[in-house]
Amino acid sequence: MSHPQKTDLITSSLPQQAEGTVKRRPSGRRFRNLSLYLLLLPTVVYVFLLHYLPMGGLIIAFKDYNSFQGIFQSPWAGMGGFEHFYSFVTLPNFWAIVRNTLVLSVASIAFNTVLPIILALMINEIRVGWFKKTVQTISYAPYFISVVVVVGMLFSFSDLERGIFNNIIAAFGGTRSNLMESQNLFAFIYVASGLWQGLGWWAIIYVGTLSNVDQNLHEAAVIDGAGRLRRIWCINLPAILPMAIIMFILSIGNMLSVGFEKVYLMQTDSTLAVSEIISTYVYRVSLGSRLPEYSYAAAIGLFNSVINIILLVTANLISRRVSETSLW
């Protein structure tokens, strides 16, 4: 299946040979690059089959899909295929939905990017072995609690009469209130509970990266009289920065894709004005509906994707200029 491709790859790798800095064994270079492409091949094929092939289905965003006629035979939507996009952007609450989505995602990105780094740096400084292990195990345990239960706990902790949150508020002289009905608190509760659940989990990647930091650097720094904070700042932080930047860029690219499940479960009638986001709306018109509108949902999804990709490319561009770290 890959014969013509193979020769392509070989020829396309030829110019590289001339530019390469390693010139000692030019005859080996050809095979060397070939083997790299071979390593890459299975994943490329996989991604093509399971990710790119289904993308053909996106065409239904421009159609009035019905399953009887199928993806390709269904009639085109009105307005040259753009009817569903038009319907979405002209919704009376379109801007509210977009704004709500952005509020949640910007807040999440800010905290979810910075705090795991701080946590990882601190865990890395713990010098008592058993304590370090305990902290880490505890910190990552909440990740395994299903969203349904987390949200259930939020409701029960926020209970007007017996909830622990309200008990604390009352203990400090505040007035009890229905916290889950508060439009002001919605984003806070969403982000804070997300941090409780994910902080330790997200920190793992940094803890792992930190363990690879060259200890000679630390020793040299100690000899130079650098304190702990200084060494964290000058050695540990730079070591995990490229990773952090990449993860930050990726989250920028997910700006409009706030997952629906948790928000949906957290919604109360009283917070709908701030809690209805793109993904919950998509859920309502597709999976959550007795009459799923696949085309409409696909159109909103595509709208999302396009904006996300624009954001991603921009963020990547900026990052490449500023930090030399980039996705491509």
Binding site: S67, F68, S87, G152, F155, L160, N178, E181, S270, V285
Partner: protein, 566 residues
């Protein structure tokens, strides 16, 4: 490592090939018309085919059920009819997706879509000839003329249709099943069990008695005598101010609900409408969108007053699950609530304190009391996709499922095995759960029928279901019957929209409007600083922005067609 990848890829290709071969063979069998038995055999009138034939049946599957092939009722049906079943089972949460993908593959359509059919799909796909019409005199299938399935092969179903399933209602069963083109593409799903036709409103009769004993000057009416929303509020006030649960604490919650939606159906009915949606005017002259009516404003004022006075649970907008409501119910703090059955909310210990009451009227609305209800009939029972040769076989199978035997099977299983009559006159029967069964009764019933969990049934018949010998159920039946004379469907079930586009548009408009109404109701009710009247105009303007007028327009057109058809 590379070898592993290679073998993985090879495995992939092989699997694809193997499955293609498998699927490819499926279409090869030829249909033998003479294998079909129009009226069974002398020994077995239920038998449908001489030699066993396998039918592919697409079904919804609830999390509670075992696989369909293990369910007793289908094993029994298979035994009786000599048909074998191959079930394609779709979990409820992904049902619509799987159904869509099933339609995508025209070469492997099932022989029957059992349960969960939608009118929208029938309207949309019948224009392509996707479904077999049950009442088509010219029907051909499997290369032969089979004619009208209902007339020729479904005597039970036909008799029931003619008798409107012996249900005393204005809804015409045949018209529910029939699209505007005069064809019936789906059989009916029928339900005349009162407890499953409406939400019930419970009130604590014990509390009323306690108050009348402890505070004689209050002189509260019994639950049965509460007829107006004003009286109801008086009782709730007494619940709040007195100590009806006699624990010395002011911890009573006069009324609550799992969500406002459930409560609003009940309170709003006292103002003349039963839904926050498009609804038929009580004189039948046309339709209104109730959230913009004056009655809705009055209703909102009442609910706001109840909330601000603390009669309505101030947590009602934070309650999203039954268990949140149950927390107060189990603690003996609830005066009144809306639920399917009281024991779900208050547990078995307190269950007998609560009785149903209503429906109510009000000073504003003094007409006949109204109670929101489900339709007895929905065109959701079973559809046959065009292309299967086995239409007669399927028709006879369905007919058995509508027969007395079938309705019993799908409800509680086989007579003599799963349940037995208590007396000669057949006035009641007892359900038998094996002594060694470790789970609950419902879990056991789930091994017999798909009715548990998905509520799927073709005929959920009160004539049989209502005779179950079970004290709590008998009580619930009795308490549900009071609502039956007052049931109102927001719009007639016979009403059909013109085409698929209208169904889609209605669905989307309602999604948007529903969110706006829910959000606004919460704002009105919780806002202590602004009366309903003050915010009313901007609310109605907002509703216009979401185009309720268009929604009403589509409904009006369909309603006019419906009126002409009557």
């Amino acid at each position: 490592m590379k070898r592993k990848i290679l073998s993985f890829l090879i495995a992939l290709v092989l699997m694809a090939g193997a499955s293609a071969a498998l699927f490819g063979c499926g279409g090869g069998e030829t249909y033998d018309p003479d294998n079909f038995l129009p009226a069974g055999t002398a020994e077995n009138p239920w038998q449908i085919v001489k030699e066993p034939v396998t039918l592919d049946i697409f079904v919804p599957r609830g999390g509670m059920n075992p696989p369909y092939r293990e369910m007793k009722m289908f094993q029994k049906l298979s035994e009786l009819t000599n048909l074998n079943f191959n079930f394609i089972e779709a979990e409820v949460s992904t049902y619509d997706n799987l159904r869509s993908t099933t339609w995508e593959d025209k070469n492997n359509l099932p022989d029957l879509f059992l349960f969960n059919n939608t009118v929208a799909e029938q309207v949309a796909y019948s224009q392509f000839g996707a479904f077999v019409a049950f009442n088509d005199d010219e029907l051909t299938a499997g290369g032969i003329h089979v004619g009208n399935l209902i007339e020729n092969y479904m005597p039970n179903y036909r008799a029931l249709l003619d008798a409107n399933f012996n249900i005393d209602t204005e809804t015409d069963a045949k018209k529910v099943a029939m699209l505007d083109d005069g064809y019936m593409y789906s059989t009916l799903s029928v339900n005349d069990v009162p407890r499953d036709l409406t939400f019930k409103m419970f009130i604590n009769q014990q509390w009323i008695d306690n108050i009348n004993e402890d505070y004689p000057d209050r002189d509260l009416p019994d639950a049965d005598e509460i007829a107006t929303v004003e009286q109801y509020i008086e009782v709730l006030r007494a619940f709040k101010e007195c100590d009806p649960n006699r624990n010395g604490k002011n911890d009573e919650v006069p009324v609550t609900a799992k969500s406002m939606e459930y409560l609003s159906n009940f309170i709003l009915a006292a103002y003349g409408y039963v839904s926050s949606d498009v609804e038929v005017k009580n004189d039948g002259s046309g339709l209104v969108y109730t959230p913009v009516t004056e009655a809705y404003q009055k209703y909102l004022e009442t609910v706001r007053m109840m909330y601000q006075e603390g009669l309505l649970d101030n947590q009602v907008f934070s309650i999203t699950t039954d268990s949140q409501m149950a927390v107060k119910g189990y603690a003996g703090r609830l005066g009144s609530f809306c639920a399917a059955a009281a024991y779900i909310t208050v547990g078995m210990d307190l269950e007998d304190q609560y009785v149903t009451f209503g429906p109510l009227t009000s000073e504003y609305y003094t007409g006949e009391p109204l109670q929101w209800g489900f339709s007895n009939f929905t065109a959701s029972g079973a559809t046959i996709p065009t292309g299967t040769p086995y239409v007669r076989e399927v028709a006879r199978l369905l007919d058995i499922m509508y027969s007395e035997l079938g309705t019993q099977l799908i409800a509680y299983g086989m007579e003599g095995e799963d349940w037995t009559w208590d007396d000669e006159a057949h006035t009641s029967w007892t359900f038998h759960v094996p002594a060694d069964w470790a789970g609950t009764q419902e879990e056991y019933r789930a091994t017999i029928t798909p009715n548990v969990g998905t509520a799927s049934a073709l005929y959920w018949s009160y004539d049989f279901v209502g005779k179950m010998n079970d004290p709590i159920i008998t009580d619930l039946n009795r308490m549900s019957e009071r609502y039956m004379p007052y049931l109102k469907l927001p719009v007639p079930e016979e009403l059909k929209f013109a085409n698929a586009d209208e169904y889609t548009e209605v669905s989307r408009l309602r999604t948007n409007l529903d969110l706006y109404v829910r959000s606004s109701v919460s704002d009105f009710v919780r806002n202590a600083d602004q009366t309903v009247a003050e915010g009313w105009q901007s609310y109605v303007d907002g509703m216009k922005g979401y185009n309720y007028e268009r929604l009403l327009g589509i409904y009006e057109a369909a309603y006019q067609r419906y009126l002409q058809g009557r």
